[in-house]
Amino acid sequence: MICNRIPLGVFLVVAAALYAQETKPKPALWSLRPVVRPELPTGGGNPIDVLVARKQEQKGLSPAGRAEKATLLRRLYLDLLGLPPSPEAVDAFLADASPEAYTKVVDRLLNDPQHGVRYARHWLDVLGYADVDHGMLAEPGIHHWRDWVITALNRDVPYDQFVRAHVAGDLSANPGDVFATGFLARAAHSPVDRTEEVAFAAVEKISSAFMAMTVNCAKCHDHMYDPISQRDYYAMKALFDPLLPDKRLLASADEILRHPDVLENWKARQDAIQARMDVITRPYEKQIFEERMTFLPKDVEAVFRKDPAARTSEEQAIVKRYETVVVPDARKFRDVMKPDETVRYEAIRKELTELRRDPPVIPAFWSVRVDAERAAAKSHLYLGGDRTKKGAEVQPGFPFAPQDVAFKGDRRQAFLGWLTAPENPLFARVAVNRLWQWHFGEGIAATPSDFGRTGQMPVNPALLDWLASEFVQRKFSMKAMHRLIVTSGLYQRSAVVPPDQEAANRAIDPGNKHLWKFPVRRLDAEAIRDSVLQAAGTLDTSIGGRSFRGEDIMERRVMSAPVTGHYDTRSNRRGIYMGRGADTSMNMLPSYLSLFDAEDGHTPCARRERSVTAPQVLFLLNGSLVQEASKKLAKRLEPAGDPVHYGFKLVLGRPPSPAERDVALSYLQGAGAARLEGFSWMLMNLSEFVFLP
C-alpha cells in the first residue's frame, strides 16, 4: 500500500481546502472526456509511429535505430509468449530475408496457445486471481476461471465480451462464460454471503480493472478527489446485491447419482479403522477413568461411580458438565500405552486422519446467481462504511451514469450497456493503456488503475485516444491491437543508442517516457522461471488444470470442501500454474514469486514492481532451481558439435560474438564435460538472461 508521509496538520488543511472547492464546479476528468481521434496524414505508416514521432519532435528527442534481428525475435517471444525462442526458431528467422519475416513471426506467436498463457497472467494480476485466499469459498475449482481467461485470449474474444463474461457470465448465452464469474464468486466466504462480500468486492474490482477508478475510496465517505459520491458507491453495489455464490457441479449425472454410495463406503472404511483402534485402547479406559476421578471434587466423583441407570436427573446434569474432564483423548492413551502399542495405534490413527482429510467430493466450480429474495430487497447506503449502520435507501446505479439509464431485467445489464458502449471513453482507454503497458513496461498513463485526479496524466494523450478509437473500430479485438503495437517501428527500436545520443535524450527525457529507445526491463517471475526450465529442456507447456505447489508451500486442504489432489504434482509447468494466494495463518505465496515481485492476488495488482536486488542475484547464483537446470542444460549441450554456439542460441536466442566465444572457450578448454555445467550456470546468470531486450 502506498503511504504518504504527510503530517496530519497539513493533511487536514488540504482536506479542508478540497472540501471548500466542493461547491465550485470541477473540470471534468480527462479520462471521461470523449475520445478524439487525431488527424493523421494518409500513407504515413503505422499511426503509432506518427503520433510518437510528433511528440518526440516536439520534445527534441532523437529515436534509436532498429534493433538487431535476433534481439527482435527474443523480444517478441518473451513479450508475446513469455518464453525465449528455440534455436531452430532463431535460425529460421535469421535465415528469412523476406520483408514479411517479422510479421510472419508476429502472426505465428499471436496464434500460439502460449500467448494466451502469457497475457492471461497479466489480466489475472489486474483481476485479482488467487488459488487460496483466507478460506475463500471458490477455492475448489477456481483454476477454471484462470483457464477460461487463457482460452478467451487465445480465441481473441472481443474485450467487451471478455468484460461482460466477468461481470455477468452467469447470464451469458455461452455456457462456458460462467467460468469467468469466478472473478465475482471468489470474494465469498460462505454460500449465504451474509456480509455481502461479493457485492463489495465487485464494486472494488470492477471499478479498478475496467474503469480505472478508485470507487473504493467512496465506501465510507464521498471520494475526496474524484466526482464519485458515497451514494454512487452504494448504487453500484446495489447492482450486485442480488448475487449469491452458486455451486456448479462439474460431474456427469452418473457420478452425481453414485456419490451417496461413494460417501457411504468412505464412512464404512472409517468405522473399520476406528474399530481397530478401539481394540488397542479398550484395556486402558478403566485406568484413565480412575486417574481422571482424582481431578474431580469428591461429590462429583461419587456421581460418576454410580450405576448410570440409577442417576437422578440432577446427577445426570452433573455428569454432562464434567464429561469433558473424564473422557480420555488420543494423547492420553498414547501416554499410558506400551511402546509397541503406541506405534500400532499411531499408524492406525494416521490412516484414519488421512482418510478423513479426503472425503469424496463432486468436482465443482463456484459461480454466482441472482437470488430472488435479495433482488426484491431494498439496497442501502452504509454510514461510514459500517455494515451495522444502514443509511438511506439507494437505487441501482453507478458513478458517471447518464440520467436516463433504464434498469430492465438484470441490473448488471444496464451497467454493462453503459460500460462496454463504444462511445464510453473510459472503457477503451483503460484497456488499450493496459495492453500498452504490457508491451512497453509502462502505460501511456502510468497509473493504469487510476484515471482519476490522483492518477497520472497520459504522456501522449493523442496516442492514447487514437489507440482507444482504433480498438473500438477493430471491434475490441485485443490481438489486433497487439499486432498493431508490435509491428510498429517504435516497438522494433533498439534498446541501445550511441552515448552522445543517449546523453542528449536523457537530458530531455531521463525516464524514457517518450520511448526514444526500447525500454529494457527485468523479466517477471514467471518468465524467468519458464526460461530456466526451457533451457533445461524440462518445461511442461500443457495448458490449464490445477495449480502446483511452490516448494516452500505446505500442503493445505480446503476447510469447507477437502479435495483429493488439490494440487497438480507437476512442478515443471509454466509459472502461471504456480499456486499463489493469501492466508492469515500461513504463507501461501511461494518465496520464489515474492522474490521476483509477483503478488498474492488478495488485492488486484495493476502493475508489478520490478525490483532488482541482491537476493535475486543470490537466488540465481546459488539456488537449487538454476543448479538443477545447469546439470540438465549441460547434458543438452554435450552432444552439440559447438556447445558454446548452441548454448548461446538456446539460452539467449543469439549466437555468441567472437569475443564471447573466446571467453567461453577459454573456460571450457581442456576441462571436458565437467565445465559444461559451469558454462550452463553462467548462461542463466548473465544479466541479459533476465531482461527483456
Binding site: M586, S611, E660
Partner: protein
C-alpha cells in the same frame, strides 16, 4: 523438512526492497546506505531514547499466567465457573482446574516463579512482571494481530510495532535492517509492515549456517572454481552492462552482484558463534539438545542488538496452527516449551547485563493472551484475554517488581488493568517515541498506531 514460513513472503519482499538500488533514482534501501542522509527525512525520536534495541519474545499460542508467573490458591479447584467466552452466546459452567505447580520465591522481592522457569527466576531482580495485561480478541490470529499492531480493526492493513519503530527511527546500522524476526510467527501480522509498506516488514533471519537463504555455495562446488566462474561471468556480462549503464534496472543488477558478494562474506560472520567463548554459549544453552535452537536465536538476538538492529522479534512455538503454547488438552504441555526457552532467555539477560548492554536493551516477554482457570478439555485450559501476564527486563525497567493483579482465580484483571498497547507504548517511550504522535496518512486518511489504552506503564520504569 520444508515448513511454510508465514514470514517469508513479506519478509523477503522487505529485504529485497531494502536492497534495491538506483531504480527510480533514490536509493530505496537504507540497509546499505553509507551515510546518514539515507536515514528517512523527518524521522527521529520525540525525546531522548533510553533504549537502542528491543528484543521482543513472542510466546505463540497463549501462555497460562497461573502456571507461570501469577500463582493462585488451589482452594477453587473443582468448583464450577461460568465462562465468559461462551458457545453461541450462552455461558457455560466449567470446573476450575487444580494448578499442580511448585512455586519458588526469587530475588530480593521474593517474586514467585513456577518450577518450569528456574533460570528466569535467577534473574528476577531484573524483571518487572505485569500481571494485569488484557486484550479483547479470543482467537489466536486476531489476538496476535491485536498484540502486534495494537488494533482489532482489520479494515486497514495495520503494521506491527516492530515496523513502526523501524519506520520512525530508520536503521542504526546501515548494513542491517531495523526490524528482524526469528522463528515462525503465528500470524503474518506479527511481522507485517502493513500500510507503512512492505519494506518496513520484518526481515526473516535464522540462526543457522547463514542468516539468509542462498548465501552458501552449492554443495560440491569449490570456492576456487566459483571465483573462476565469477570472473568469466563478469567478462561475458561486460558488454550488456556497458550498453545499459544508464538503464536503472540493469545498473541495479550490477550493484546486486556486488552486494551478493558482500553478503556472502559478511552473512556467515553474523551467525558464526565460534568466536563466542564457551562459557557464553553455555549461558544460552547452545549445544544442549532442548535449548540449542532457541539458545542460538537468543545469542543471535544479542549479536543483532550489538550491531544496532532496533527491533528483534523472536517467535517461539509459532508457525502452522495455533501456536505451541496453546495448551487446550493439558497444561503440562507448557513444560517442554518452558525448558526450551528458560535457560536461553535467562542467559540473554545475564549476558546483556555483563556486557553493560541491559540498560540500553529492553527484553519483552509477551504472548497473545493467557489461559482460563477452568478446564476446557480434560486438563487443558481455554484462551483468556481478560487477564494475563507479560514481563519486561532492561531498558530502564525497574527489576524485581510485580505490577497489577488478576482476581483470586486468575480469570480477570483486578488491579491496574493494562491493555496490550500499554506494553507497546512503554517500549516506544523507552525508544524515545511518543505513541500519541505516531500517525501516518494513508490514502488521505490519518491512521494512528495506538488509539486505545492508558499509555506507557510508568510504574515499572525507573
Amino acid at each position: 523438512m520444508n515448513f511454510s514460513n508465514p514470514l517469508s513472503a513479506p519478509g523477503r519482499r522487505a529485504f529485497m526492497r531494502r536492497m534495491s538500488f538506483g531504480v527510480g533514482g533514490a536509493a530505496l534501501g537504507c540497509l546499505w546506505a553509507e551515510d546518514e542522509k539515507f536515514l528517512r527525512a523527518g524521522s527521529g525520536t520525540h525525546f531522548a531514547p533510553k533504549v537502542k534495541s528491543v528484543i521482543f519474545l513472542f510466546m505463540c499460542g497463549g501462555v497460562s499466567a497461573m502456571d507461570t508467573f501469577d500463582p493462585k490458591d488451589n482452594k477453587w479447584a473443582g468448583k464450577m465457573l461460568e465462562t465468559l467466552n461462551s458457545n453461541n452466546g450462552k455461558p457455560q459452567l466449567r470446573p476450575v482446574l487444580h494448578i499442580p505447580r511448585v512455586w519458588t520465591r526469587y530475588g530480593k522481592a521474593g517474586t514467585p516463579v513456577c518450577e518450569w522457569f528456574p533460570h528466569i527466576g535467577g534473574v528476577m531482580d531484573d524483571i518487572a512482571v505485569v500481571r494485569s495485561m488484557y486484550c479483547h480478541e479470543v482467537g489466536h490470529f486476531p489476538a496476535c494481530w491485536e498484540m502486534s499492531t495494537g488494533h482489532r480493526n482489520r479494515l486497514f492493513d495495520h503494521p506491527s510495532i516492530g515496523a513502526w519503530t523501524g519506520y520512525a527511527l530508520g536503521a542504526a546500522n546501515k548494513n542491517l535492517p531495523a526490524f528482524v524476526n526469528m522463528g515462525r510467527p503465528s500470524a503474518p501480522a506479527q511481522a507485517s509492515g502493513g500500510y507503512l509498506g512492505v519494506q518496513e516488514g520484518a526481515t526473516p533471519f535464522q540462526a543457522g549456517d547463514t542468516p539468509l537463504d542462498n548465501l552458501k555455495l552449492p554443495a560440491g562446488l569449490s570456492r576456487v572454481e566459483r571465483d573462476r566462474q565469477m570472473e568469466v561471468l563478469a567478462k561475458l556480462n561486460r558488454q550488456f552492462h556497458e550498453q545499459h549503464a544508464f538503464d536503472a534496472e540493469v545498473a541495479a543488477r550490477v550493484r546486486g552482484y556486488e552486494l551478493a558478494g558482500t553478503l556472502q562474506l559478511a552473512g556467515p560472520e553474523l551467525v558464526d558463534f565460534s568466536r563466542e567463548p564457551e562459557h557464553v554459549r553455555k549461558l544460552y544453552g547452545v549445544g544442549e539438545p532442548e535449548t540449542d535452537e532457541f539458545g542460538r536465536q537468543m545469542l543471535l538476538a544479542r549479536r543483532l542488538a550489538e550491531r544496532g538492529v532496533r527491533f528483534i522479534q523472536v517467535c517461539h512455538g509459532g508457525g502452522m496452527g495455533n501456536g505451541k503454547w496453546d495448551a487446550h488438552d493439558d497444561v503440562a504441555d507448557h513444560g517442554p516449551l518452558a525448558r526450551q526457552t528458560d535457560k536461553p532467555i535467562a542467559g540473554l539477560i545475564r549476558d546483556l547485563k555483563q556486557r553493560g548492554m541491559l540498560d540500553s536493551t529492553m527484553v519483552v516477554w509477551a504472548t497473545e493472551f493467557g489461559r482460563t482457570p477452568y478446564s476446557q478439555n480434560n486438563v487443558g485450559r481455554d484462551h483468556n484475554p481478560h487477564g494475563f501476564t507479560c514481563w519486561l527486563a532492561g531498558g530502564g525497567v525497574k527489576g524485581g517488581i510485580v505490577h497489577g493483579a488478576t482476581d483470586e482465580i486468575g480469570y480477570k484483571v483486578a488491579e491496574k488493568p493494562q491493555y496490550v498497547t500499554d506494553l507497546q507504548a512503554t517500549v516506544l517511550q523507552q525508544m524515545g517515541l511518543d505513541h500519541k504522535k505516531m500517525h501516518v496518512v494513508v490514502n488521505g486518511r490519518p491512521l494512528h498506531m495506538i488509539e486505545e489504552g492508558t499509555g506507557p506503564i510508568q510504574a515499572i520504569l525507573g
